[in-house]
Symmetry: C2
């Protein structure tokens, strides 16, 4: 999906919500365990219910890999289901990959050619040749970790170098030599509040993928106040607060209500 | 596997070689494509042939994931085969994972409980809570990226902070607050030469996993000169130069010869 198509979706639907499909067999409603593929059954119901209120879905690969081969089958079925039924939704695999060039190239082939995702989260530690193989696919995106939502983000990401530049700022600046606002976004945690102002100084136009509202405690208002651009420039993710809002047979309906609530807040902020 | 067991293996077998199972369907001998699971058939033959000359195996997950569900089946079969037939070999998944705490915990469960690996490579960018979930398993190891073998390693890993500390040194120092030489190793590329001296100043006792000899051009002598400790302290990986040394029906035999050559060099250096 191109940047223009994404912006069009956001302003047409008046939402920039991404629903995180962090599907955990231990947390889904019990009645689904009778299904042949409980994880896929859950995802399918959540997707059908929440699609009007979001522009993106983000399965976190760890949850699928934790089930081994079965999990990969559920993951691939989920992506196929999205591609077939919701081609206007932006599909992100939260994978946090990044390896030497030839290995990153294999990951890129897997995720962009075979599984047909729109975007992949990538870790920046290994530098340029670990990132650029993902930038060779038109309409596909790298979402590079910049300033994450967790406590450990302070350990290295905020380290200030001899020129007064913090590591996350160097990641933002340096990576703009490799890609641009049409094929690269950044992960910035909603828990980082006013840091969005600093991010926008270095990356004024890039879309930011923002995890951390909901269960992790970040504020949507604050994110928008400091991070929103004229093109919106934000995809805000919520996982647990939406998909696990209810554990009865009404889970999908309640998830839709929760997604709708967030989408209404977003419409007011756009 | 504990540190003492690993050291025992190294000095008994007089080798600290790790064979990298970067198995690519496009690079294995053609006659194997008739097998039901060509990737597993290749791995099995390589393992049986090289086991006397190495102490560790390191499948790189990207190569398996690039084949989707089929690849995961080959990966899990390979690990089971190793666990059943070569329990004295140290098994590393080169996965370069690292995510917020609850997600890293899921990865740890997958790789250490379900798949039963000895060690996993982890990326440090997200800090403490992305690493510590992997340190909760006795006898299991985190191998944290410190100074990698690729060109892009210069982009961020060598950034010097306001106290004169480079990022890879900060990773080495800071991570020793989370784990110790009994449950943590570091990835240091063989291409980094004399930098091993600097590494040993911050991490004198930790084992280092060293990729980059062979196809990537690093020197075994230099790595040992600057990086070896009284306990050896090194696991040196070679992938392509061993497993793809020959593409005929003799591939396993030739791989064994190549592994043996490296092991003989290692015996002389120990």
């Amino acid at each position: 999906m191109t940047r223009q198509e994404l912006i069009h979706q956001i302003f047409t639907k008046k939402t920039f919500l991404c629903v995180g499909l962090d599907t955990d067999i231990k947390k889904i409603p019990e009645h689904l365990l009778q299904e042949e593929d409980p994880i896929f059954a859950f995802n399918q119901a959540i997707i059908d219910a929440t699609a009007p209120y979001c522009v993106a879905y983000k399965p976190n690969l760890a949850f699928y890999e934790s089930m081994g081969v079965k999990g990969w089958i559920s993951f691939e079925k989920t992506i196929s289901y999205l591609n077939e039924n919701y081609p206007d939704h932006f599909i992100i695999a939260d994978a946090k990959r990044g390896d030497i060039g030839n290995t990153s190239a294999m990951y890129a082939r897997t995720f962009f050619e075979e599984i047909n995702l729109d975007a992949l989260t990538v870790a920046p530690y290994m530098g340029e040749d670990s990132v650029t193989p993902f930038l060779q696919y038109p309409g596909k995106w790298v979402i590079l970790l910049a300033l994450t939502s967790n406590k450990g983000s302070h350990d290295f990401q905020l380290t200030t170098d001899q020129n007064g530049e913090r590591l996350f700022e160097k990641v933002l600046r340096k990576s703009q030599e490799w890609g641009n606002a049409d094929n690269m976004m950044y992960v910035v945690g909603a828990t980082q509040g006013q840091m969005f102002e600093d991010i926008r100084k270095v990356a004024p136009d890039h879309f930011l993928l923002v995890p951390g509202i909901g269960a992790q405690g970040g504020s949507l208002e604050e994110v928008c106040k400091y991070g929103m651009t004229k093109d919106c420039g934000l995809i805000v993710n919520s996982s647990r607060a939406i998909i696990y809002a209810d554990k009865t047979e009404k889970f999908a309906e309640v998830a839709a209500q929760e997604a709708k609530k967030v989408a209404e807040q977003m419409a007011a902020l756009l």
